[in-house]
Amino acid sequence: MANEISDDELVQRFPGEGITHDNAAHYRGRLRRELLMNRCGDCGRWHAPPKPICPDCWSSRVSAEPVSGEGVIFMAILLHRGPPAPGVDYSTPYPVVTVELDEQPGLRFTSTVVGADNNDIRIGAAVRLDWSNRVGAPMPVFALKKPQA
């Protein structure tokens, strides 16, 4: 794709992330604020994390495509301590959620939830995609669809 940054620059934009040939497209998508997940061009199934072939039909026609980022919280935890990260202060426990995406049962993505009271971040809650920043690079996050009462 035109105007895409080099592999070297990509690694520099996401320090600490384990970028590979298989998931580089996902990280390039983040720079455009697109959440990309791998999908098979033959059987149409999604999979995560990015794999070099379709684990269902073994097709090599796998590409990273945008997902809506809509889904339901499948697992929800609060980190009272954790790895150092810019902008993360564990004095308020930091939420981490795995979201089951609407695109396909069992297709999940893990990130944090922004703009919500920790008490409202519960398994089963509907979420939508939002974007935050981590050392200057866009980071996909989730927001609760309906503020809880």
């Binding site: 935890i77 790895p83 993360v88 426990p93 981490v96 069992g106 893990t110």
Partner: protein, 383 residues
């Protein structure tokens, strides 16, 4: 391989939750020298090495073992090492394997380990940048599935607490254990949260110490000093969706493979055993093992422990006779990545478990590891 390969001896240094001024090689060597002496063999009879840390090359050099014809350094937990060594013995690649594991307080585990310059040097990649907290990968995944366990089965943290108390009550009676102060449910519930819903006491305790084993043919083991413990069946179970956040459900991961395989390959199952060793690196792992092994229905492990609880002793005694992790488990003996579970199983079956001895223990079940890529099983017996 059934019953053709045996564990001839097991030894430990014991474990402490502090930084000893020693290397992993030093800890492993102490356990290895002891197990070689206890088995009554000479070091030049060892022709195989299998361990975690240090490398087989370093350990062989430290112990001055003249020659080996096979060695391996599989990944933890330690059923992998025992199963791999047993397979090597059964295949004829070697005959007498020294299996070893040094548990070591890593710089990731504790602030005090991070302050130890030798431990920093011993940790490759320490200064590399690391990804942020927005992940369920590695140990965090068990917290994610703990949230799921509570949500799906409608149970509270007290069910996790029973596992922690069970391990601690046993560790009180184990001189090799790191954590020997009794624990109450109030102690558990008032412990600091680390990754909610899991608190400090839901996580195994980082320790320094080592275990070592001799794995050989049953025939050869019979000529050694201690009663052989026969490996009836062993399995490393794994399913396709093995990433922490993609695992299908609490009822569909590596543990089910382990349980189904042991049930079909082993000559005995839960009704026949005398002592049970479910892994307890994190408390929800133990509950899920109890569910999946079929002791009770899914989600009922906490209720099962309550039903079989010996309130005098402060631990569960299944059907009034089967203790669960009588050495204190990873939660309280120390985070041995299951070498402690296997060592205690061997000692129980050899009648060497001291004050913790289960009367005439003949059969043990070890269900080690977690959900994703490290669920393991071992059935051991003394015929």
């Amino acid at each position: 391989m059934k019953d053709r390969v045996a564990i001839a001896a097991a030894s430990t240094t014991g474990f402490v939750a502090k930084n000893l001024g020693r290397s992993q090689a030093s800890l492993a060597a102490e356990a290895c020298v002891d197990v070689i002496k206890k088995s009554g063999i000479a070091r030049d009879e060892i022709d195989g090495l299998c361990g975690s840390w240090p490398s087989a090359a370093v350990l062989q050099s430290v112990l001055g073992i003249p020659e080996v014809t096979w060695f391996g350094n599989p990944v933890i937990p330690i059923v992998d090492h025992v199963a791999t060594a047993a397979a090597a013995v059964h295949a004829g690649l070697c005959e007498v394997v020294l299996v070893y594991h040094a548990a070591y307080r890593a710089v990731w585990n504790t602030g005090s380990a991070l302050k130890d310059p030798f431990r920093r040097i011993a940790t490759p990649g320490l200064s590399d940048p690391h990804p942020g907290p927005e992940t369920m990968a590695a140990a965090v995944g068990y917290t994610g599935w703990a949230s799921r366990y509570m949500y799906e089965y409608g149970v509270t943290r007290e069910d996790f607490g029973l596992v922690a108390i069970n391990s601690r009550s046993h560790a009180v009676g184990n001189p090799a254990a790191a954590m020997r102060e009794p624990m109450t449910m109030d102690d558990y519930l008032s412990a600091p949260m680390v990754r909610e819903p899991l608190c400090l006491y839901d996580m195994d305790v980082a320790v320094d110490g080592a275990d070592a084993f001799i794995v050989t043919t049953t025939e050869r083991a019979r000529d050694m000093a201690l009663p052989p413990v026969l490996i009836n069946a062993a399995v490393l179970g794994q399913v396709r969706h093995n990433e922490e956040d993609q695992t299908v459900s609490l009822r569909q991961h590596g543990q089910q493979v382990v349980v189904d395989t042991l049930k079909s390959k082993s000559d005995f199952w839960i009704d026949d055993i005398d002592v049970y060793f479910p892994y307890d690196g994190f408390t929800p792992i133990t509950l899920n093992w109890i569910d999946n092994a079929g002791w009770c229905k899914p989600g009922e492990a906490g209720a099962f422990l309550r039903e079989h609880w010996d309130s005098e002793q402060g631990y569960a005694l299944i059907n009034g006779r089967i203790p669960v992790n009588p050495h204190g488990g990873s939660l309280s003996e120390g985070a041995t990545q299951a070498s402690g579970h296997i060592r205690e199983a061997v000692h129980q079956l050899q009648g060497l478990a001291g004050d913790r001895q289960v009367t005439d223990a003949r059969r043990a079940l070890v269900t080690a590891g977690g959900f994703f890529f490290n669920a393991q099983g071992l059935t051991l017996h003394r015929p």
